[in-house]
Symmetry: C2
């Protein structure tokens, strides 16, 4: 069906029209087409794996078959927070436990002597404990996740916040994304249901809202105030939506921010909670970057659960969902797909509905669940594996912090570019001021100017970033999102490549 494959081009469109016209006399060849598919899926956009990353993938293939025409010898994927793709090492203890759970033969008495030369005693004990509680990792578990692991998550939350957590309020998930999708769908009563999301935002939110036919109600983060948000903006955005007849049900806060990297102050969080309480709005706290905190004295992480619990009695019915993940932090176990969400003050009938809908997919994968256990219950002082665990986590953390500073400083040296430092997360979101000529060229090519810039960067350097237009931004501004995950020993080279590209680009398009 080459004619259909070609349909994205003008030529293809012509062919397609002919095909459609001809259906009056002849059956069209396919039943399931763009014209007959689910209309909401068609509207979904997901820039993190959109046009620029798809081109990067193609270039990556080309490097294997015909590298001579390319300006680089490697594609560097800075479009996605995927640390192990860029050679971040996994935490040794976590993988040791996971591999023992995978192969219980190793725990048999006859293998014990050999295995104790390969594995520390606490990894062996932990694997035995987990297998004892789970049974087989090859079996479906409880649809909310293994009860023992949910108990450990609850204890972790209690240690983190200093307030009680109930294992029954916790759902383990296949990554935070799955949890977010479920909760957003649950919240959507009809197509006038509004969900407040930040701009810029992580496109999981806009994609999911498209899919469930809810209305995104954007509020803008203020670049000049370190990507902060204030109550007035929330109120303005809410009133505007309500005046259009939108029934606003929930507010999404990503803290630390993605793509913007800010970390909210406690005072700001209280204000947000008060706003939700006053306006009867459910709060969704995407807190997957809670350990990626780079200015811990000035901007430590506080969970929304903790701040809520510390407030007066009148706030203690405020509905809150909080999301966490094994993919971020210093763990970076993206490939396993693991995470959880905690439900705070959620109607028990809704909890039952969430359980029911989880059961249709049977259960979150056990390997992800085991990693949630390890993340929330790592080695502690006195354990055999603690020194190595601590050394690994500290090394990753310190390196991320150094790289965040280095990349921001690299961006800030570029002509027309300004970039806030990262308080948290894994990304920078520099603002680029592009010459008029570049903006016109982009228009001609039928794409936003930041996509044009990002594609030029990819072709020149092999570095793949995501255009700001994929996250949303103040009209008339241009940005891109880049992780600061490339390996540290390659980082100077990485920065100077970006610098050279930017200088060339500006020279070429200077007004």
């Amino acid at each position: 069906m080459n004619s259909i494959r070609a349909s994205k081009t003008v030529y293809g469109q012509l062919i397609r029209n002919i095909r459609l016209v001809s259906t009056t006399s002849k059956k069209p060849s396919k039943v399931l087409t763009l014209d007959t598919m689910h209309p909401l899926i068609k509207n979904v956009e997901y820039a993190v794996r959109g046009a620029v990353p798809i081109r990067a993938e193609a270039l990556s293939k080309q490097l294997q078959t015909d590298p001579s025409k390319l300006n680089f010898d490697k594609v560097v994927f800075c479009n996605i927070g995927n640390p192990q793709q860029l050679n971040q090492k996994p935490i040794t203890f976590f993988r040791q436990v996971a591999s023992l759970c995978e192969n219980p033969e190793l725990l048999k008495p006859e293998n014990r002597q050999l295995v104790s030369k390969l594995y520390p005693s606490d990894a062996i004990r932990r694997a035995e404990l987990l297998l004892n509680k789970i049974g087989s990792i090859g079996a479906y578990s409880h649809s909310k996740g293994i009860p023992f692991i949910r108990e450990n998550v609850a204890k972790f939350i209690e240690r983190r916040d200093g307030y009680k957590a109930n294992p029954d309020d916790i759902f383990l998930t296949q990554g935070a994304s799955e949890g977010v999708q479920k909760v957003l769908q649950m919240l959507t009563e009809h197509n006038k249901t509004g969900i407040m999301i930040p701009i810029p935002q992580y496109p999981l939110y806009s994609a999911t809202l498209s899919l469930v036919d809810a209305k995104p109600v954007p509020y803008f983060l203020k670049e000049e105030e370190d990507w902060g948000l204030n109550r007035k903006d929330l109120e303005r955005s809410l009133q505007e939506a309500r005046s259009k007849g939108i029934d606003v049900r929930a507010l999404v806060i990503i803290n630390p921010g993605n793509p913007t990297g800010q970390c909210l102050s406690e005072e700001n969080m209280r204000d947000i909670i008060d706003f939700c309480h006053t306006e009867r709005i459910v709060l969704l706290a995407d807190e997957v970057y809670q350990t990626n905190i780079y200015q811990p004295e000035r901007r430590p992480f506080h969970s929304f659960k903790k701040v809520l619990k510390s407030m007066g009695a009148e706030y203690q019915e405020q509905e809150l969902f909080s999301f966490h993940s094994i993919s971020k932090g210093m763990i970076g176990e993206c490939g396993r797909r693991g995470g959880y969400f905690e439900c705070v003050n959620i109607d028990p009938d809704i909890m039952d509905q969430l359980y029911k809908i989880s059961s249709v997919s049977l259960c979150p994968n056990i390997h992800g669940q085991i990693m949630v256990d390890l993340m929330t219950n790592p080695p502690v002082e006195g354990d055999v594996s603690y020194p190595q665990y601590k050394a690994e986590v500290d090394a990753i953390y310190e390196s991320l912090r150094r790289r965040a500073i280095k990349l921001a400083s690299c961006f800030n040296k570029l002509e027309g570019v300004t970039c806030n430092n990262a308080e948290g997360a894994m990304y920078l979101f520099p603002r680029i001021r592009l010459p008029e000529k570049a903006i016109k060229e982009a228009e001609k090519a039928g794409m936003p100017a930041d996509a044009f810039y990002s594609l030029a960067m990819l072709d020149a350097t092999g570095v793949c970033v995501v255009p700001g237009s994929g996250f949303g931004q103040e009209p008339g501004t241009y940005h891109f999102r880049s992780t600061f995950l490339p390996e540290e020993h390659l980082f100077d080279q990485f920065c100077s490549k970006l610098e050279a590209f930017h200088n060339d680009f500006m020279k070429k398009y200077r007004d």
Copy 2:
């Protein structure tokens, strides 16, 4: 919020009404409630983990805290095809490779000597190959799945069918369920879109159709003809739906059948394909039980892809999705959530849309993907691990076959019970003829009579099955679904418990 928790009882309903009335003067306490949630989620039913299994779960907990009041010392979960929960051993080679991938430290030269005492050489080689192709198993992969593994799946399909398969047409998934949900959603243009499903059916289908607001168009399997289906019934069901203005787009066939265990003849399959071709209907083939075949001479498994390819040129545009899973067969790795679907003759634009929607969830988990690789590419004759692999697979298979026969014969001896033998899958679906008195008691208790029977069975024996009403059945008939997965050495005891229960039940309610 005890008043909300109680709302399922009559008393709770009273409280609830009061609460609603009082909202005129006072704000209701929750924003997200049964009244404001997504209305389609509310309609979803999923009996495999429904009322009877939820009670079984509670009894299982009670066994730990207060066993004295129960008639049994163990709950036997026959409600779900979850072999490893009932102590089926995983395939050794598969777990060896998986554990090496999990802990690449073991593959380092300095550990090689020790590791070679614990692992066969082919498991080591396979893990090295996989890691080489995957990079880190801690990284997100391509959203359709790791290209190397999709290539292996394509080769597996070619070996199985004798016809070409293209890795680009294959999507790896988190279990077959995820694939089915995606494809059903994609097929649903509006709320008059109809999808033909068998009755009885696996409730994933009805649940997903509820959720995407498509119309299930039921066709009945004929119990007296070994749960076969014939074209006339398909045509009757299609015409009836069309006469109601339903736009029928797809036909789901579960082969081998779940819950019914039949395996279709090639002739029957050709007829079904011709029906789809004539009526312009996309075929969805749920083929997850393709290796669970217990009468291989009389009823071997044929894939719909193979039968389609063997037919004339006029059929070669027929659209087909075929689903497979690592959870079934002799592997039973349910907890990992792995599977794939192959798209045959699907519009490339739709393939792009499926890719896009997969990318919003980033990727299927890597552990499930690795198991798909191993399932489709197991040890072969000459490999060090082949003898053990073959012995394990054969032992599980032969035991399943014996248990299927034994359980059917046990059911057929019971008063008023008839049960077809299993040609495939993991289930029996006996028909039970219940005394009028039992039916009346069930009515009084507000539940279908087969649910009443199944709950009585659970309370008396600890055996958890799923009532036929959860799958659909001919009106006026009653059934239940039971796996034949309890361990073989406990099987005689298992059968005699069921027999004793049934006799008591019939005595109690005899007309």
